[in-house]
């Protein structure tokens, strides 16, 4: 991942320098598109070679029967990811009510979708889905156009001075991809679980309901 990022940056710096001298943007575009296409080819190689992660998808399972809105997951998320006061956290607990007055809380954040609409619409290519299924933002590339917010069915992306901000399963906070992120670790009531999606589903005897959307959210509900 790191290698790939530096490789791409080197390319864009080169094209950036080329761009300074040229006025014709169309010519520039061609010049930039060729090395970028080559870089994309390299990416594919890196991804297929990377470890033995075949179609892993990490995700969350929320047992809404256990969630009591204690906000510990939100606080842990804020702390781990240094979310400043006044900036929305990457996780939120929302109250839902049924027609018959039943109430349930749901802790949610980025759904790490199978086909992330945010990544597809990003003009800068700043959002990518890793081989382990985690959707991450490259803040070095993000220009903050907010198109990903409009694309996300769950209104998840929000914006700070540094660009788009959302859950990365605490990768940025130093948690290894397979390990429990801080929110799930902070849950005292067994409501918020993290893991491989198929493991999560089998842990509850395949009774969890998947959140439905064209983007294929990796989020299970009980």
């Amino acid at each position: 991942m790191n290698q790939r990022a530096t490789g791409e940056n080197a390319v864009s710096r080169r094209t950036a320098l080329m761009g300074l001298s040229a006025g014709a943007a169309a010519a520039l575009w061609c010049a930039a598109a060729v090395p970028r296409a080559m870089a994309a080819g390299e990416d594919a190689g890196v991804e297929s070679a990377s470890e033995a992660v075949e179609k892993t998808q990490y995700g969350f399972l929320v047992d809404t029967r256990n969630c009591v809105n204690c906000q510990k997951c939100v606080a842990a998320c804020r702390k781990a990811n240094n979310t400043p006061d006044g900036t929305p956290a990457r996780r939120e607990v929302r109250l839902f009510e049924s027609h018959f007055g039943a109430k349930a809380y749901l802790s949610y954040g980025c759904m790490h979708c199978e086909k992330p609409a945010c990544a597809e619409v990003c003009p800068a290519g700043a959002i990518s889905k890793r081989a382990d299924g985690i959707v991450v933002v490259d803040s070095e590339r993000c220009i903050g156009c907010k198109y990903c917010y409009q694309a996300c069915p769950f209104s998840v992306p929000h914006y700070t001075k540094g660009g788009m901000d959302k859950c990365d399963c605490c990768l940025g906070a130093g948690v290894a991809p397979g390990d429990e992120p801080n929110c799930a670790a902070a849950c005292m009531f067994g409501a918020l679980h993290y893991g491989r999606l198929d493991d999560l589903q089998s842990s509850c005897g395949n009774t969890a309901r998947k959140v439905e959307s064209s983007t294929g959210p990796s989020y299970l509900l009980l």
């Binding site: 943007a25 809404t64 156009c145 309901r209």
Partner: protein
């Protein structure tokens, strides 16, 4: 749920409006040029400069909305991901500006005289190149006008926008506002005498046709949205209600429908009827003026005022349409749907 969409502020709305209007203005200019290369050249030239300004200001608007405008300025890096319609559109705008610029430059009066001075061959080549640029610009221009709708259509988070009719609506409205801009430019250049009467009649007929088309597309657009009732379409229906009968309704009916559609159509029809009454033989106002019927200053001013009233209404309506559609772009709520199913599961288990 019924809060307005505020994450995108005024800049993207203005970008969509200016993109559509600029593209529409060039398409109108190209049409005029094709109909009458000699008499319409100067208006077509001025209109294509206007179109370039529209697209450039539009792109600048898009860039100022960014949280990182400086990085955004490096278009070749920031707009390099071609699954995104924002990327495709940004380069479409750049391509359109390049073609419009070549047309605007070559259609300048000095270029015309320079080519003519070099002989008949050079003049013919000059005319052929201009026609080629007009065709190319029309193609790219139509692409830009439709793209402004595609940009919204391809954001799956907002059900109101996920309609294939939105690009059609924005394209028709883009052409409509483009015609209005060209009319204003023609009036600004020597009070409307810069275009032959026949060409002004053409623009008026075009206005009537486009208004009718836009009304039809608007009706279909809202008809489809209101006709559906479940799932993601609940929020699309709610957004439509907001526009047609809610907080945005006064602006929608007042600006988009009355000022943007009814007023230009009335003015255009009135001008067409008045013209037919005054000149049953088919002479335009310009010919009437040329054949000695001089207008007094006051008369000219009042006739200019009448001539710009329709186009100004059309521009206000077209601008309002983009702002209102962007503001009404409330998100769907698939989480609420998922939780509703969960509640039903719980009842079923009881």
């Amino acid at each position: 749920m019924t809060d307005l969409q505020m994450v995108w502020g005024w800049q993207p709305s203005l970008y969509l409006f200016l993109g559509g209007m600029g593209a529409g203005a060039f398409v109108t200019a190209a049409l005029l040029y094709f109909r009458n290369p000699e008499r319409s050249r100067s208006v077509a030239c001025a209109s294509s400069w206007g179109a370039i300004v529209c697209l450039a200001v539009g792109l600048l608007c898009l860039l100022t909305e960014l949280t990182n405008p400086l990085r955004g300025l490096m278009l070749w890096q920031s707009f390099s991901h071609f699954t995104s319609w924002m990327t495709i559109g940004a380069w479409l705008l750049v391509a359109a500006m390049a073609v419009f610029f070549l047309f605007a430059l070559l259609s300048l009066g000095v270029m015309q005289t320079a080519a003519a001075r070099k002989g008949a061959k050079a003049a013919a080549l000059h005319a052929a190149i201009l026609k080629l640029l007009a065709v190319a610009g029309t193609v790219v221009g139509l692409g830009v006008a439709a793209y402004t709708g595609v940009l919204l259509m391809t954001a799956p988070g907002v059900p109101l926008w996920n309609s294939a009719l939105l690009p059609v609506l924005f394209a028709v409205s883009g052409l409509d506002t483009g015609v209005a801009l060209v009319e204003l430019i023609a009036v600004a250049k020597s009070g409307g005498n810069s275009l032959e009467g026949r060409e002004m009649r053409f623009l008026e007929k075009l206005t009537v046709a486009l208004v009718i088309a836009e009304l039809a597309v608007l009706a279909l657009f809202f008809g489809f949205l209101l006709g559906q009732g479940d799932g993601a379409n609940v929020s699309a229906a709610a957004a439509s209600q907001m526009l047609l009968g809610g907080v945005l309704a006064p602006a929608f009916w007042g600006l988009v429908v009355v000022a943007g559609l009814a007023l230009p159509m009335t003015m255009a029809l009135w001008a067409l009827v008045a013209h037919r009454r005054a000149n049953p033989n088919g002479f335009g106002r310009a010919e009437a003026l040329e054949s000695g019927g001089k207008l007094k200053d006051g008369q000219r001013r009042s006739s200019s005022f009448i001539a710009i009233l329709g186009p100004i209404g059309a521009l206000a309506g077209g601008c309002a349409l983009r702002f209102l559609v962007v503001m009404a772009g409330i998100h769907g709520d698939p989480l609420a749907d998922a939780m509703a199913s969960l509640f039903q599961d719980a009842i079923a288990r009881l």
